[in-house]
Symmetry: C2
Subunit: 119 residues, 2 copies
């Protein structure tokens, strides 16, 4: 661990992952490989086109995802993770694992609280 918090680069990674839908977008692309815009949208109930577009553009800007437009009618746009983007996978995995444990941790805690209530 870096001994000078001022030089912390955690924010940089955080900045990439933050966004209500970014992690899930990345997971979909990691699992399915290349996906079309509409396909991606179909897998994410609740997301609006605007948000999906925006988050994808931001990820593209950071070279995490690649956007390929096929000049045809109707339009076809495919998204995929870049080689560089794959370097995020270990972090996503670590966070997922930690998150799973944390969910269990919270449930135990709530159980203890409820027990306390009963007394």
């Amino acid at each position: 661990m870096e001994k000078k918090p001022e030089l912390c680069r955690v924010e940089d990674a955080l900045g990439i992952l933050v966004g209500k839908w970014k992690p899930i977008i990345l997971l979909h692309l990691l699992i399915n490989g290349t996906m079309r815009f509409s396909e991606l949208k179909r897998h994410m109930p609740g997301i609006t086109q605007k948000m999906l577009t925006k988050q994808l553009r931001e990820l593209e800007e950071e070279d995490i995802v690649q956007r390929v437009v096929y000049p045809q009618v109707p339009p076809k746009v495919e998204y995929s993770i870049t080689e560089y983007g794959r370097s995020l996978e270990p972090i996503l995995e670590a966070m997922h694992e930690w998150g799973s444990k944390h969910t269990a941790h919270k449930e135990e805690k709530e159980k203890r609280m409820a027990q306390k209530e009963a007394n």
Copy 2:
């Protein structure tokens, strides 16, 4: 990697780390061990008392940090990472490392862009 993005727990970890100051607070506590409120504040130029209090309370709520109040005048409150909170360390470290590489990656990219401009 979990094959069902719907079951993704990345957000849970993300939720803990997100907050303009949380990562840096955690880094300070990880490095220095126990710290007083004012000491923490002194190490983070720019943070307001309100924000520091709020973020610390949120971290406390999740059992990531421990808050110990000494009933005396003037008040003395010490913060430290919990055993549980330490389980976040690998993630912070991974993000820091990735962030450092990403910074380099972006600089290279900008250099290429500037080169292009020149032509």
